[in-house]
Symmetry: D2
């Protein structure tokens, strides 16, 4: 939607790495980043095939002289451009095993980074990125875009304001079916690399969508795990990586979290559902019905908060992320755009010297990326040890509770 | 989302008339039109206040030399530009009473037109526009954007394919609350002009949202009314125009339609719901849950069609309008963008000589605009005559059933 | 459920007329009447076939000497029994055209009456019954059992308490599919008599289920119509009686009601939905989701009231009708039992001299029966006159607003 | 509802132990058992307080000479009655710690038994009951009444028929809030004994409702666990017993089950939800929306099965358990009555020599009771061992997969 940005604020320049057809995630990054007029796509390394890369550049409206054949070519090329043309940030939407190398090089070359999850496939790499990002001062955002839904921010604000009392239990189910083919005996096409350990890393579904769930636990409650136990399964015939998994998380104060993820449940689309129990109330939210947030508290009727309903019903962070009047459904694209808006605003504060941008969304950053990778790491360790509890380590830079 | 447009296809140039803050409809037009990279906003007459118009132009990214102070100034200015810079079409988002004059002048000046509903406030004006558009050969699209929802196109395709048998009954309720203030005694801010007959025309809610409902009846079923009866109410204190209304429509073959509209129902957002009964099945759809379409038929379980679920479940017109995988909610913006995509593709066929663009959505055009205005006209006549049946007139150019 | 009745209170004795298999309505009357231990079935005239009547008597646990071959035989036989054995009331579940004769005779014989809707097929008969009931002092209840749902009573209590402000609009849709056969070309089995004017009276669906809808309008709001307009349709091939209909109701103070009924919508079960708009809030309820009532009011989140949730959330009339804790679904049977409980309590007050029974449900009585028949009458008149407005007549005994 | 029982079949005589006010479970047993005319309540030991027991007997319609002051008094008294008056079975609805002694004595005295869950508080007691029941030949039913919902039987029939392929994952959440008081600092009234280890046994919520969830896993899928891991929590201040818990179950063939139970989630009523993933389809069901069962399978729209919809849509076991036409909601009472119907039919087969009663519901029996107690036992062991996996033991009589 049309930006209400400051007159003097220029559009930030985005270089997109990966994301050519048939993946949907590249177009989502490009569209979400540019939706509000805060950014423009100026360069891309969209495919390892030159023919495909060129076609994709056309589709993204990227001039051919900045349609690079490789990500390192892109970094080299952009660095050489004068600063008033050079990309401000790179968005990394390639398979997991490449994230580290690209992000590391991009940071060293002086770019801000927006990176798909999981940030890396090894915990030490994640820590290295965090350290490097701290050194360069770059903005480093992880695309946990579900945090961009206004009603997720409403939930977070309610919890921060103490409206739930003390959080005691968190239940997340994230159920998809995309890694089960319609016809048995074949491998599903979309996301084929997600089943290949060489490309996806060792963790499968728990990395691919479990990190989203875990991020929301951290983002919504601020709680840091004490230890976790995990059981994984590869249900689909011929698959090595886990396509189903379950984690139990103990928090230091006794709170208990459970995360169940599936990518092989027949007919389920993208059913991320969250329930949070506090001493003063309980919340429920489903991504496929993202415009509503349900609050229950004994003594009151069930209260359903609607996105951008009239009146002072929502907390400011939720309200400020709404583009359309309530009842005109917003969706995944707007949530993703909210994630980008937050990251772009932070880049604008740092680079464009616009200090007073109001920021309602605490965007997921490199420390959330480290947390996600540690989560996957502990899950793999626990599963390999028959579900034994694995302690959460304080990792520098600390994944401190957001405030 | 990133366009899959033909390499040689340039972006069409849009001039936006009306739609500056605080209206949300201007940004929606601009964002929807440009979402797929098929268009760009190049000019605007965004406010009758020069200061506001200038600020709005900045927000829309319109260069100041094309930020016009009035719509006639815009038409004059654009016509004088060389054809390779001149706007290709104007989008009219001003209050209803101005639609006719602007659209008429725009057609005469050689522009394509995208116009908000109701197309005009008088039926003779609507007919005049249709005749003029036929003469100039311009594309003339009416922003009945709800037709752009994939599941509406799925419903239409199912009906066209005979999967419902013969349509016998249609029930539409379109319930909003936006014209009721939270505090009694004050007039609601947003859409204040919608309550002013001088600006909105004589019909109020039946024009503002009833035309959407009526368009969907025509668009989904192809049925043309035989006659209709209408009762209107102005429930909110101090309001002249109707903010509530009800129409009964008889069709020549005995089918019966009912349309109920409200803009004063406490707490209701944008609850457009449609039920269609056929001899072989019945359909139900709600705009606030736009991703699902429900088919019922004795002898089968209830079948819920989901947007862009895997497999050959949807008809092609529905599938082709999807941008994101199922379960990643799309919403009003994407529906609006689908409406624009269809209109822009038609402009491209005519102006850019790209003949073979596949078009899945039959966009609402000037004849739908005439139909909508006749609907409002008959409603007013019937209400003034205590609900007497008013015959539907065949109006040239005929609002023929779409095929 | 187990009664909490006064120790000295004996069970009232029920004689069931009609309702043998395969109808479900007979067993519902018997089970609902006896569910709380306030009544017992002692006699029946369950079928005009003696063999069937005898089998049915066994199924109902009726001793064979009180399994009568005809309704007049039943009245004769019961009257001759000593008062301590004689039935206290008759429940009439036969086809519509017989209601009047049976009810009239039953009143004259000194029985209380529970009668299915529509009370009669002619308005003058309904008035005659009302006059006779007033004379005999009998309890005369009409089985508008939907009023027995706790959440309907919650809605009524909220409206009575002024929580909705002034009621301005009422929208009821009552959509079934039972009169459409699964296979075209055959007539549906269940309720076959409902399509036969000789048995069902002249009105079809508007009598069969429209009277339920109309009763709820009256029961919930207390409003009395000023005039109404109606359009009917017989959509199913070979059917004389209307199986679809639509009524618009004008109330004296400007309020507007719409009632749409269908019994030919493919796959729809018993979808009675009600929306009520007031100046201070709006309510919505669906019979197929009867445990919830939705209140909307600008400035608050949507509030969903749940049956028998903990805390002082519900008004007393709703609370007192609950048998099971919230979340243990109650349904149609319990609603029907609540209707019976109210009627039986009234009989107990009159016959058993138990004066202080607390009565939470104002049961639909003979005046509601008259109202329902007038509603059907006006609908038929209006339809025959092409939807012309027909004035509501004040009928003695007055269908006064309940308080 | 009225029974369709054989003419010669007499009502079975029920003796109710426990269940006086304010518990709702006693009335539910009495009402459910008698709903179809297959049983009558003839005796009771309803309270340990003689005054309360007498009042309760009146409410249940029990003659005072069979209103016993204690359960052993009841057993003694009934045994002395002539066989044509003596109770046929006892229903045990007392706190958990008493189940074993009462059931054991009842079996020894020659009665059939219907017993609340958990069957006992110790596994060895459960085994002893199973052995004794096998010896006496009595019917021994455990009140896992959720199995009585028609749509649960539809799910079971679909799984048995292979329509889901091989079951791979089961997710059950059973979320209540009843053990959290509305006002902090007080203990909730209802079910107070459920928080007292002396009365409820060592397991709290996992016994109280976890056994329902576990029974459904077994009943629906026939799977027998290989091992399980459990984590428990007592979240409510001042409570010893767990009011929250989580179990992970591994099955021999690799299938994975998760069960999460809460009785302290603010505002949640009785939200038992079940999801089952198979290689050919997935199912979802919620108790609070018990009339619907959702089947998903790639390549088809989502299919929602409705209770007793017209046509050959449901499997016979589901259809045969329906009393009312679809759309007239049935609820918990009818499910409970279905459970009783199955147990009573089995008693009738054994005692009344009516051999050919068709039985659609495999009622939960003593082996299910043993399974439930073992489930609780393993949960407690695992929790005490920090969630270590505990092997499932084959317990005689074997909890063999039902067929």
């Amino acid at each position: 939607m049309v930006s209400v940005a400051e007159p003097a604020r220029r559009k930030l320049r985005m270089a997109l790495i990966g994301g050519g057809a048939p993946a949907f995630i590249g177009p989502i990054h490009a569209t979400a980043a540019t939706l509000d007029g805060r950014a423009e796509v100026v360069a891309g390394a969209l495919s390892s095939s030159p023919v495909k890369a060129r076609a994709a550049a056309l589709a993204f409206g990227i001039p051919l002289d900045r349609a690079y054949a490789s990500w390192d070519g892109l970094l080299d090329g952009e660095v050489r451009l004068p600063s008033e043309r050079r990309a401000d940030f790179v968005a990394i939407t390639t398979p997991n095993h490449t994230h580290f190398a690209i992000a590391h090089a991009a940071l060293q070359a002086g770019f801000h980074v927006v990176c798909e999850k999981p940030m890396t496939t090894r915990l030490e790499d994640a820590i290295a990125l965090a350290e490097l990002a701290a050194k360069t001062g770059a903005v480093f955002a992880i695309a946990h875009a579900y945090a961009g839904y206004p009603m997720i921010q409403q939930a977070r604000a309610m919890i921060l304001a103490g409206e739930l009392g003390q959080v005691q239990a968190i239940r997340i189910q994230y159920i998809q079916g995309g890694l089960r083919a319609q016809q048995p005996g074949v491998q599903p096409v979309r996301g084929a690399w997600k089943s290949d350990p060489a490309l996806a890393g060792p963790a499968g579904t728990m990395a691919d969508i479990g990190t989203h769930a875990f991020h929301l636990v951290r983002h919504l409650t601020g709680l840091v795990p004490a230890e976790l136990s995990c059981t994984l399964r590869s249900f689909y015939p011929g698959r090595t990586l886990a396509d189903y998994g379950h984690a139990v998380i103990r928090f230091p104060d006794g709170a208990l979290g459970t995360i169940t993820v599936s990518q092989v449940t027949h007919g389920r689309l993208n059913d991320l559902s969250i329930e949070i129990d506090g001493t003063e109330g309980s919340l429920a939210w489903r991504q496929e019905d993202a415009e509503h947030l349900v609050l229950r508290r004994w003594g009151s009727p069930v209260r359903v908060f609607e996105r951008n309903a009239r009146g002072d019903v929502l907390h400011e962070p939720a309200r400020s992320l709404c583009r359309l009047p309530g009842g005109h459904p917003e969706g995944f694209l707007e949530a993703f755009a909210n994630f980008y808006r937050a990251a772009l605003d932070e880049m604008a504060v740092r680079d464009l010297r616009i200090p007073d941008i109001k920021r309602d969304l605490v965007f997921p950053d490199v420390s959330d990326g480290v947390d996600g990778v540690q989560f996957v790491q502990r899950c793999i360790e626990s599963h390999a040890d028959r579900g034994a509890w694995k302690r959460w380590a304080e990792v520098p830079p600390s994944g401190a509770p957001e405030t």
